[in-house]
Symmetry: C2
Subunit: 688 residues, 2 copies
């Protein structure tokens, strides 16, 4: 049962999308035709938003996980009054337009997260819902509710087939994220075929097994049924909700129910036939009936009023809880409280030293109590990644019927609650990355993730999306080289640092000792609107003597002169460059070479990206162009180092997989010794 | 109910593992202590194997997906008579030993696949089971069964949390792989904590929702119950089977049921306490009672007899079906039939040309009918990746009750059967990669995968494992640059080629036109024991005139001189180097520059790895060291190109994300035009 005006609005959305795709001669008409009714009901009757202020913190979040349906989202944004004109709509998928092929956060007002790579949006939504739950628990007070919104996802068959989505489903169910609701556009068709050839599982039953509330709507055009299901989903507060809505891809078009309707323009003739079939005027294209527009401006007006009420509530809250309110506002905008870094330790010189992961853990624990927005955890590796934040609680639903807090094993003694800031992702690296993106996109949270560096491979897709959409996520990776040792090549990263450096917009930092680890965390925290990846050692490394060597603060510039070991007053004959756990090797080698009469400069280069951002003058001052004998040392693939060492330089790296043996044995066998650094350095000088 | 000898065998396995970890002072005692009974029952009573011939094609496959339990696997291999001595056992995790930290294929006899990164082994097992089903359908004849074995997996909580596993579960259920059985070591504990903090879904119900047969064994020490469940699993032929076995991590040790028992040696005192508790002699370590050893040699003897019977059967088969038998044997060893490449087309010069993905599709379809072991498909992208093999059938269970073949949408008209060689992975890139590894590890199959290049990020973990374990898998990636166009930056690879080149042991080839695409496929097919990645364009590129330019066969050497456009008789002033869809730009630019009086050499460099493998003489002949003005052109990040162009060279690449607009517009805006190549080339010469 759908009334006439509702139908007109739905068809307006449908044909705006169809016309966009046709005009661009590119795009995906299938999803908008099938899913327009559910999207309409959600936006018209449930979604809380104010188009005049897309950044209102207490808005509902909508995620189009099936990002290929972007035309539908743009039609919704246009119709509901966001700053997206009909000209923007007409310039779908064109150079410089605000309506790119897939939704891009920061590019189009009202787009919450960048989607398209399937499964990511769904997992982002879990992050958005975690953020809401955590902030609500932290900031709401009995008489003051300032965080209270929902997260809605529209997902496709393709989303549900992706592993990252399955991970997120499992975790969301476990966490009982009652304010997370997913509309599943169950159209039985994917890009290449019907789902009968690959995807015949009982999706509803799978979600139910994962603790979700599951409903079915048999007819995706039945507005009343969709409405009832969304009401029930909203009223179910103990579990996340899935509404399986049976739709028809390319509804009304000659290719309805065929994969051919998925990702190609219908073509002019089929556009005409589809409009005829659904009783829509063939001309003009991009038709927006006035009553449809007026009607769809309604929810935005309600939202504006809701925001005004919220402003009043927030004012009362700020009166009652000024400190909390100030903290809330500051963290919403990513601001740092004064003195957030006051407790970061300075590590004394120590030849035995400590693993940079251990230093990282100490620094994190010095920062976390003072930085309320910092939240995160590992993919089941806290004891190894040293990323547990002591005393700050574990984000988990309050036990009900299960064992109570004290009996539960965890990383932390702060108790279990929605306000807990330690997140436990389980062995789900991919979802961890995507959930962190959702947390960052939400506002009010500064998320970090943690796992072994070799498993960065499991989470590259969300790392790329964080960089593309300028999300401030901190990735901690430990166990960063073949020095991992006994666990062997499956657990020893070799190519990972290089492959992360390849990601545009991602800053990768591999600190050499405890004090560089501390500065690396400072940089990571201070960065705005970009992800930062921190890479730490499993094994102990000496804490360098900063009395003798340059201060670790040089890390901020990406590379800096650690020391000049000059045999006489001359310029150095040789520059030794290293990162991370190999830096102490070049420091020792330089001393030895100086004793042999060779003048050596030692450069610590923890971050290529930070160094690249410096002036040419600075870069040349660290690596004087006239000194071409340069040896770089890093326990990873040599890829990319030629740029730094130049034609006359050399690189001591790892060009094969690691091996299983005690870590120091592996390092020695692979040539990471002071002796070998000296030998390679001498050979470099002998060659000229 | 467990009889005494069974118990003694189980405890022998347990304490071999415990002693290995203790001796190495590194490793994972928790899983072996808990899972030894189920592993024992499986190997002793069900698994078909001949330790004297680990390569027997009709053996059952056993996959320890929870690879951190390697000590248990090594104990099983030793006890059942594989070539793994007690000295090997004692040298667990030591340099050069045959017992590395995690099981490595090709390193230890009896290890089928390399495991450790969680979830991979489970998905490999799905590939092993697909291979068995496909080969059985192709080669068995009514009176001759030469392929008939099972695939058994032992998986942990961590495996089941991973998305790659969830994808594989869904596909295996869909495919009704009745000979796939999984023992799930349900111990409720992971590395960092109890599963109650992250993993409370109903796993059995999830598998059931995915079409699996599910059983529960409540006591993981109950040999009779395990035996009964494995019998039932074996007898269930219509669905894959999961047996959820409730166990206790670190069984018998003081840390039983705690995450502390997962991944650290027990320590001498706890080793003693555990032995006491389970009634095992404290001394000597590595105790192997004679009757236990004798008993556990039983299954291997049965297996040897079974192999003898199989040899008889195969002889009869070879008499009755000599051609099939010869084909079977050849493909088991990766051999290629004569004339496999006879139909590979030669593409005539054509200025409009065709997309290299389209050429790839034609070449694949010319090869596939003659190469029976070639099997593969895409992650729901056949129409785009052009990887459907026409007329060769689709691997899928015969429809039962569902729509029959002709009504089903698919990529191919060859019908649905177990013998179908087109695989449909669904939108499951990660599992696709891992399943392909299983297919390659099985023997008799040469698998390929296909998706968009940007989604290579979803499948890096199995690509790395393919390279590490020397598996011949062919990865096809299309839509290989910002020229993808309208779909925008989420679908435009920028850093992917560089990041794949970083993986040791992986050969990456990016052909420049249809004829290079053909040679690339030849190289991919002819490669033994290593993965090859083929990267193809979405957009048309000119088919180069090989009458005027060098033959495409030069691709075999990774880089070759395409042409010397000399303005006079002198050596070139400049070398232009490009890969893939940018090669035609340098060819045109060279002509233009020659007209301006600049002598230019054009080098096509489709594969760094192949070029690197050539002699220095050859490499210097292509890129003469004396010519330092070198410009490389590739629509990807510059990382790594300095090595090739040198200090005096330049690189025209992409150092940011792409954009949504028609592909040629994006390429133009990013500087990929003949004009800009000429401008950059002139600037390079002007600088000197």
């Amino acid at each position: 049962m759908t009334d006439q005006l509702d139908q007109k609005c739905i068809d307006t959305l449908r044909f705006l999308a169809v016309d966009m795709v046709q005009e661009a001669d590119s795009g995906h008409p299938g999803l908008p035709l099938g899913a327009a009714p559910m999207a309409y009901v959600l936006w018209q009757r449930f979604l809380k938003f104010n188009p005049a202020n897309p950044g209102w913190s207490d808005r509902d979040r909508f995620v189009l996980s099936a990002g290929h349906g972007s035309a539908l989202l743009y039609a919704l944004l246009h119709m509901t009054g966001y700053e997206l004109s009909i000209d923007d709509i007409r310039r779908f998928r064109q150079w410089g337009s605000r309506t790119p092929g897939h939704p891009e956060r920061g590019h189009t007002p009202g787009v919450e997260v960048t989607t398209g790579p399937l499964g990511q949006g769904f997992a982002n939504a879990v992050g958005l819902a975690i953020a809401e739950a955590q902030l609500a628990a932290r900031y709401n007070r009995p008489d003051h509710t300032i965080v209270d919104h929902r997260t809605w996802v529209l997902a496709s068959d393709g989303d549900l087939m992706e592993g990252v989505c399955a991970e997120a489903v499992s975790l969301a169910g476990h966490l009982r994220l009652g304010k997370l609701n997913c509309l599943y556009d169950d159209n039985s068709v994917t890009l290449a075929a019907g789902t009968d050839i690959t995807f015949t599982e009982d999706r509803g039953a799978r979600f139910a097994a994962c603790g979700w509330h599951v409903q079915h709507v048999d007819d995706g055009n039945d507005v009343a049924a969709i409405d009832a299901a969304l009401k029930a989903a909203r009223d179910e507060t103990a579990r996340p909700s899935l509404v399986v809505v049976r739709t028809h891809i390319g509804y009304g078009s000659p290719e309805q129910d065929s994969y051919k309707a998925h990702g190609s323009p219908l073509g002019e003739e089929d556009v005409r036939k589809t409009k005829q079939k659904l009783g829509w005027p063939i001309e003009p294209a991009f038709l927006v009936p006035g009553d449809a527009r007026d009607h769809m401006r309604g929810p935005g007006k309600r939202g504006a009023a809701a925001e005004q009420e919220w402003e009043q509530r927030f004012k009362a809250y700020a009166d009652a809880e000024p400190a909390l309110a100030a903290e809330f506002e500051r963290s919403q905008h990513g601001g740092l409280p004064d003195g957030w870094d006051a407790d970061i330790p300075v590590f004394p010189a120590d030849a035995k030293g400590m693993a940079t992961r251990a230093a990282s853990g100490k620094v994190l624990n010095a920062i976390a109590p003072k930085l309320p927005q910092l939240t995160g955890g590992s993919a089941d590796l806290d004891p190894s990644t040293k990323t547990a934040m002591k005393g700050l609680g574990d984000f988990n639903p309050a036990p009900d019927g299960g064992p109570d807090s004290d009996d539960r094993q965890g990383s932390d003694g702060g108790g279990w609650s929605r306000a807990g800031r330690n997140l436990h992702f389980g062995v789900r690296e991919h979802a961890m990355g995507a959930i962190a993106n959702g947390l960052a996109a939400h506002g009010g949270c500064m998320p970090f993730t943690a796992t072994f560096l070799v498993f960065a491979d499991y989470m590259r897709p969300p790392m790329r999306l964080a960089a593309l959409s300028k999300l401030h996520v901190i990735h901690v990776f430990t166990h960063d080289s073949i020095a991992v040792g006994e666990d062997g090549p499956t657990h020893e990263p070799v190519e990972q640092v290089a492959s992360l450096r390849a990601i545009p917009g991602l800053t990768v930092i591999r600190p050499c000792d405890a004090n560089e680890a501390a500065v690396a965390w400072r940089v990571a925290i201070e960065t705005r609107e970009a992800p930062v990846t921190l890479v730490f050692s499993r094994q102990d490394v000496p804490t360098l003597d900063r009395g003798r060597l340059a201060a670790a603060d040089g890390l901020r510039k990406g590379a800096y002169v650690l020391c000049d070991e000059f045999a006489d007053e001359n310029d150095p004959a040789l520059v030794l460059i290293a990162t991370g756990s190999e830096v102490h090797l070049i420091v020792e080698a330089a001393q030895r070479l100086r004793e042999e009469g060779i003048s050596v400069r030692c450069v610590s280069m923890p971050s290529w990206e930070l160094f690249e951002a410096q002036s040419k003058e600075y870069r040349d001052s660290v690596l004087p162009p006239g000194i071409t004998a340069r040896l770089a040392v890093e326990a990873g693939v040599p890829q990319g180092w030629s740029r730094c060492v130049g034609d006359a330089g050399d690189m001591l790296g790892v060009d094969r997989y690691g091996a299983s043996a005690p870590g120091n044995t592996v390092m020695e066998k692979y040539g990471f010794t002071v002796d070998n650094v000296c030998t390679r350095a001498r050979a470099l000088l002998a060659d000229r």
